[in-house]
């Protein structure tokens, strides 16, 4: 699609035996972007990432990564990217420090200064052995190992799922710094707040397909503002086109309004004497929840 796309996936299909994990996934991530990759459990996030890393072979569709083929050009591509798995498993007898150095060396060297700084900031004890680390600490080891190298692309699969809020803040800072250096980031997550504060664009995946993609504002455009008003006179129900899901309880009105029709809604209500009014800003949470619900049709209307 775009000339400077770092990740370009079109029509990706991948099945585990007969079970289709991905069916026709499209995803584009531009250079220098932080791209949030959201979706419910089992929707195919990790599978997509594992195809991008050349761990799984695509059954169909095209996948381009940093201008190369993730299955064929493994060495050239992996030199330029770093990965944090969702469920970090470390070698039981190897210390965290040793694991960081091993992975750094296998990637082609790491930035010593940044390594020391990251170990410090994440308050990581590098002398513990793999089996002694807690889940969050195992994750920190993988994060330090990935971020200590100078790479163009970071692929992070739910990197904060085990971190405490303090460490999560540090993680967000560190990713923001990486972004400043010009690093592209693909960040899969369940936590909207995390993605909201960092991501330039979002893609939402469900059942192995992208159901929404766009910038935060674009996605917000798809969401609705909720309005609660107490009026003096009861408005006629058949004239309220601006509203959706309106409910009138006497003169009490509740309903939602598409973001681009708020003005229209306000001018409609004004003549009926507004006594009190609460307007809830559109939240991604609501979009997120709406898309997550399995029984509603996936594609949102706009």
């Amino acid at each position: 699609m775009s000339a400077n796309a770092v990740i370009e996936i079109a029509g990706l299909v991948k099945s585990y035996g007969k079970f289709p994990a991905l069916n026709g996934l499209d995803l584009t991530v531009d250079q220098g972007q932080v791209h949030g990759f959201l979706g419910p459990n089992g929707s195919g996030k990790s599978t997509t990432i594992r195809v991008l890393l050349g761990l799984l072979r695509a059954d169909g569709g095209t996948v381009r990564l940093l201008g190369g083929d993730p299955w064929k050009d493994v060495v050239e591509l992996h030199r330029r990217l770093a990965y944090v798995p969702g469920d970090v498993s470390l070698w039981p007898g190897m210390t965290g420090g040793e694991a960081i150095d091993l992975l750094g060396a296998l990637r082609g060297g790491l930035n010593e200064k940044r390594r020391a700084e990251l170990v410090d900031r994440f308050e990581l004890d590098p002398t513990k052995r793999g089996r002694q680390y807690s889940k969050g600490n195992r994750q920190k080891v993988a994060i330090v190992a990935a971020l200590a190298s100078d790479v163009e692309l970071l692929i992070l699969d739910e990197p904060t799922s085990g971190l405490d809020p303090l460490m999560e803040n540090i993680f967000l800072e560190v990713i923001a710094e990486a972004k400043q250096r010009g690093t592209t980031v693909l960040l899969s997550s369940h936590i909207l707040a995390e993605v909201e504060s960092l991501a330039d664009r979002l893609s939402i995946i469900r059942d192995g397909r992208i159901v929404e993609t766009g910038t935060l504002t674009e996605l917000r455009g798809h969401t609705r503002t909720s309005i609660h008003a107490v009026l003096q006179r009861i408005p006629p129900e058949d004239e309220m086109d601006a509203f959706r899901d309106v409910r009138l309880d006497g003169a009490k009105l509740t309903g939602t309004v598409d973001s681009n029709r708020i003005g229209e809604a306000m001018s409609f209500l004004a003549p009926y004497g507004i006594q009190s009014l609460t307007v809830e800003p559109p939240s991604l949470e609501s979009l997120f929840l709406r898309l997550y619900e399995t029984d509603t049709p996936a594609a949102a209307t706009s």
């Binding site: 060495v75 469920d87 190897m94 992975l103 060396a105």
Partner: protein, 530 residues
């Protein structure tokens, strides 16, 4: 006590349902071993003359006796079955019991499954109890199935039942051994290795004690010796099984005591902090590091094996001289002492080679474990090529066994050549080297399996198992050469023969290469961790 064991009954039921079938392969192997002896014996050895010939062949190659133990009476079906199945069948049952128990206790702790269970209504001791229960029930089922089917196949009932009982008793004793090692080792792999190590040492000591006609007490201090002393088919003594029961009880008690003293997920030995910086910076170093512990342990084992077999070789003349069948053969000029001794050296080195392949297969299977635990993906996500990564492990899996075989071979050569039995040091070392390609072939089977079809990881053992069966059992079974040729060890030339040719070695090397290609292509092309 009742709260300690809360929840054990429902857990045992579910565990039996899910892990019970892990015992099935062992049941099949042991039952096959025992029923096939009974079915085939009258057919292959119809006359007393054939049977005496078998006895002579067995007596003439003491290496066979090391594995199968003493042949008390090869002239009856049940005597033959006892000789062929008792030691090996017990060994297999014990392996099954050890693996099942370790998996149900230590393995679950490593994987975190146990934590999920422990947080439920489950007493502290329940999980160990369930593990032991699973191993005991499995061994019992194995004994019952094997003995009943052997009886139905034509075995004498009392002998068949006693033989089955020795399988069960061996399984029980080693379930208890594994229950103890599961408390000592810091993870399931260590726990398994210690238990299997104990089994291996006791197994060889039994064969050794009988072969060199060591004093009686050397048999009686060995729990596996009790099993042989039941004499199925020749004496039918049930009482030694009582010792096995007592030992099982004692070891189980020790295991529960140890378990109540250690912390969840920890061994008796607490790990210390390690280095903050790492020196291992290549896939090769990683492979060596991950397999370092077992490699050191196996090196010690092969030093011991070399000494034992070497010492055994020095007493070969006595052993052969004590066998009346062999004396007759020698007197009749059917063979010469030199030929017997040369054949013995070939067999014993093949045996060492087959044992040496085990750590090789283990190294390949360890790689599969690493893959399933998502640690290979960390490495492959760096700029490491898959082929290179696989090669590091393959080279180690081929090199370590080569080293082990050479260690034992040189020791055997040294001891045998010093003993004035007509063995030349150079010849024996050369024979060791000639055995190496055959070891590679059976390891290559596991390289192909892990590379191309890791889902059937049990198939990785096919090479080791079939070579073992064909090399040790084949000749006394009068199998056709075309069948025997499936074992790569059949192609190892006897270097003391002037007309020995190396074509066989070239052929099996070609097969090795083929397996390697399959393994490498498979590993390069397949999805990881599936």
């Amino acid at each position: 006590m009742s709260t300690m064991l809360a929840g054990a009954a429902p857990l045992l039921r579910t565990t039996l349902k899910h892990d019970g079938r892990r015992f099935a392969p062992w049941i099949v192997i042991v039952t096959f071993l025992s029923t096939s002896s009974v079915l085939v014996y009258p057919w292959i050895f119809p006359s007393q003359q054939d049977r005496a010939g078998l006895a002579a062949a067995v007596g003439g190659n003491p290496a066979v006796g090391l594995i199968f133990g003493p042949a008390f009476d090869l002239s009856t079906t049940d005597g033959f079955n006892a000789w062929r199945s008792l030691a090996l069948g017990g060994f297999m049952t014990a392996l099954g019991a050890i693996f099942v128990l370790t998996r149900a206790t230590r393995g679950q702790e490593d994987s975190g499954q146990a934590e999920l269970l422990a947080s439920g209504v489950l007493g502290r001791a329940s999980r160990l109890l369930v593990g032991i229960g699973l191993a005991l029930i499995g061994s019992l089922a194995l004994g019952v199935i094997a003995s009943v089917l052997t009886g139905l196949s034509g075995g004498d009932w009392p002998s068949s039942l006693l033989l089955g009982a020795t399988f069960t008793a061996t399984g029980w004793m080693f379930a208890a051994v594994a229950a103890v090692t599961a408390q000592i080792g810091s993870d399931s792999r260590t726990a398994n290795s210690i238990a299997v190590g104990v089994l291996g040492v006791l197994f060889l000591l039994r064969g050794f004690a009988y072969s060199i006609q060591a004093p009686d007490w050397t048999v009686w201090i060995n729990p596996l010796g009790w099993m042989t002393q039941t004499h199925p088919g020749t004496g039918n003594h049930w009482w030694p099984l009582g010792y096995a029961l007592a030992l099982t009880l004692v070891l189980t008690t020790i295991a529960f005591t140890l378990q109540s003293r250690r912390d969840f997920g920890q061994g008796a030995i607490a790990p210390r902090p390690g280095p903050a910086r790492g020196k291992d910076r290549s896939t090769w170093r990683l492979a060596v590091r991950l397999n370092g512990g077992p490699i050191i342990a196996w090196t010690v084992a092969f030093l011991a094996l070399g000494l034992v077999f070497g010492y055994f070789a020095t007493s070969i003349n006595d052993i052969l001289g004590n066998d009346s069948n062999v004396s007759q053969m020698l007197a009749a000029g059917a063979t010469t002492p030199d030929a017997l001794i040369a054949a013995f050296i070939v067999t014993i080195l093949s045996l060492v080679g087959i044992i040496a392949a085990i750590p090789g297969v283990q190294i390949m299977l360890k790689l599969r474990t690493e893959e399933m635990e998502d640690r290979v993906e960390l490495v492959i996500a760096t700029k490491v090529r898959r082929v290179r990564f696989y090669a590091s492990n393959v080279i180690l899996a081929l090199a370590a066994p080569t080293l082990f075989l050479l260690i034992a071979g040189v020791l055997i050569a040294t001891l045998a050549s010093a003993a004035d039995i007509g063995v030349d040091f150079g010849d024996a070392v050369l024979q060791t080297v000639a055995t190496v390609p055959a070891v590679w072939t059976i390891i290559a089977v596991s390289i192909a399996v892990v590379g191309a079809r890791p889902q059937v990881s049990l198939a990785a053992w096919v090479g080791v198992l079939s070579s073992f069966v064909l090399t040790l059992l084949g000749p006394s079974f009068k199998l056709w050469d075309s069948v025997l040729a499936f074992s790569p060890f059949w192609h190892v030339p006897n270097v003391t023969n002037s007309d020995a040719d190396v074509w066989g070695l070239l052929w099996i090397t070609l097969v090795t290469a083929l397996f390697l290609v399959v393994g490498f292509i498979g590993f390069r092309r397949r999805d990881l961790a599936r």
